[in-house]
Symmetry: C2
DNA sequence: TTGTAAGCGTTATCAT
DNA sequence: ATGATAACGCTTACAA
């Protein structure tokens, strides 16, 4: 690989002048600039990024932490992030935490060692107190995931309202016996908390009491959905509608329902969450809560790039609207 | 950030000794080693990767080129690649070409500028002659995608056989009027060619002639699938079975079929390709050709790492077996 | 407007 | 076994 010195020699100038051209700074005569450009082309010269980096420049790389990229929502997020990043000249490094706290921390270390300029976290494994120290090394943006008392920019959805509207929809359809299935643990913080509160509020407002036996936690996959439906059929007193935490779970329930001859929505109304493409392909198509993943990804990338440019991360909280998509499963 | 010099001072030794410890080389007394380790810990020291890189070390980064990560097959590939890479201490940089030749070339430049050690290409936009020059800068592995006359390692599937078996399955089911829908252009090279030949061979062997009006090219999305089904219903003489290029297209066809009251598989048998998770969730579940994406991703990563270690890329061609999964859409 | 020279944080070479 | 010193390729004061 040609170096800046090679170019300088070929152009009959100094490294400095070449550097000026590369970084298009002022104070280079058009004549010399042309000479340098010419030499660069002839030698197929590309500045060595490691050397520039060593001089304290940016890496032009953004790290993205997801739990699992095969999950369509995360794929969509990564898609939007990658596109926005490249449009702005940034590259994207990815890491799947997959529930592994250490892998997450290892990835965050890239910030410390300046291998990425900033990190977008879409999924959080460690306690925030273990993450927070990293913000001194570069901007961190929370996207989709959030802890309620954070000091970094957060792009999130109105999970509370999404769930609230969803449950309300079921109530409007005449349901009183409404089950609730969540990927979390009916927890006291973050996304999960907000969804739970939306559920509780909608139920309370309608004067419907919550049956604890109809709350199902820690369900994630379509397999979980299948099992859940089978389990519900075994119950003496069972809900007439169920609000799930993801389209995948809902899809699993539909499959099992067909298997066991349960009619959807007549015997059981099923609501998904996410509005993944599959929501249109199931039978019946899923009523679900739409998360504008694309916009979230875009916005968080924009936000991290802004932080990089201003050289100071703000701490805006951006909450994107969420809507329910009514199809035929409810 | 602490530097190697800080560590050296604190330990009362020289940079050299510290460097020896970092790279655990011989000729360091246990005593001094402990001292250095101690100092490193106290200062929370991490070697500066840019500096190491400048000294000609590896970046420990693998680039992955995909066309679109939202496509489940690519998501699955990236998933496997990322996991395998991290297990071996490598990081993963991604780029979605999205049909954009220039973006693809831009990404390949990372190899030239030593920002990645090697690149896995899962999707190819440019002519091979434009890609080939890059191999001098580091290993390139073709995964899933292939050109027939290449000089780099290739991990591919037996697309020919997959299609051949699929068509054969339809024939066994009694179909003679078999349509063929492909994402490509019924082309003369690569994956597409192999699939086409599988189709032709199976048809020929069964003594069934191919109706050119039943060959549909350049179809990709579920939307395309919907339109295709509607279009087929308009045909005077139409196939009784259709072999598609992806589960998404097939899913779209099923949706439209329900809409228009076409019974699957009685009125029309539909075959997918990929065996994505959705294949189980459609109604009816899809008969499809299973691609072992996970294994492909793993193998290509392994191969590129091997090439990196041996410092010489072999040019093995690895062809993974493919199988058909029979469900209820045929 | 152009050039000289001093770093940036490592590792490799050669002494000691 | 340990250390001084010269690269690696680039940017940036500072000079001219």
């Amino acid at each position: 690989m040609a170096t800046i010195l090679d170019v300088a020699k070929r152009a009959g100038l100094s490294k400095t002048t070449v550097s000026r051209v590369i970084n298009n700074q002022a104070y280079v005569s058009e004549e010399k600039r042309a000479l340098v450009l010419q030499a660069m082309k002839e030698l197929d010269y590309h500045p060595n990024p490691a050397a520039r980096r060593l001089r304290g420049q940016q890496t032009m790389t953004i790290g993205v932490l997801v739990s699992a990229i095969v999950h369509p929502l995360f794929a969509c997020l990564v898609d939007a992030i990658e596109r926005t990043a490249y449009e702005n000249g940034y590259k994207v490094m990815i890491c799947q935490s997959q529930g592994n706290k250490e892998k997450e921390l290892l990835f965050l270390n890239l910030l410390k060692t300046k291998q990425v300029d900033g990190i977008i976290i879409t999924s959080l494994e460690n306690d925030w107190k273990n993450i927070e120290p990293f913000v001194t090394h570069g901007p961190i943006v929370l996207c989709n995931e959030y802890i309620n008392e954070s000091s970094v920019p957060v792009i999130k959805l109105d999970q509370f309202n999404g769930t609230y509207l969803g449950i309300q929809h079921l109530i409007k359809r005449g349901h009183r016996k409404i089950g609730y299935c969540t990927g979390g643990l009916f927890a006291e913080y973050g996304k999960d908390k907000d969804r739970n509160q939306g559920y509780q509020k909608a139920m309370a407002e309608a004067g419907v009491s919550i049956n604890p036996a109809w709350i199902f936690v820690d369900r994630h996959t379509s397999e979980d959905g299948k099992k859940l439906l089978a389990h519900m059929l075994d119950m003496d007193d069972r809900p007439t509608a169920i609000f799930t935490g993801s389209d995948e779970i809902a899809a699993g329930m539909l499959v099992q329902a067909r298997e066991q001859g349960v009619r959807i929505p007549e015997d059981l109304a099923v609501m998904g969450f996410d509005d993944q493409p599959i929501a249109e392909w199931t039978s019946p198509p899923l009523t679900t809560v739409r998360q504008p993943a694309e916009e979230m990804g875009q916005k968080s990338t924009q936000m991290i790039i802004d932080a990089l440019h201003q050289n100071a991360a703000g701490m805006e909280q951006l909450e994107l609207p969420i809507e329910i998509i009514i199809r035929q499963s409810t």
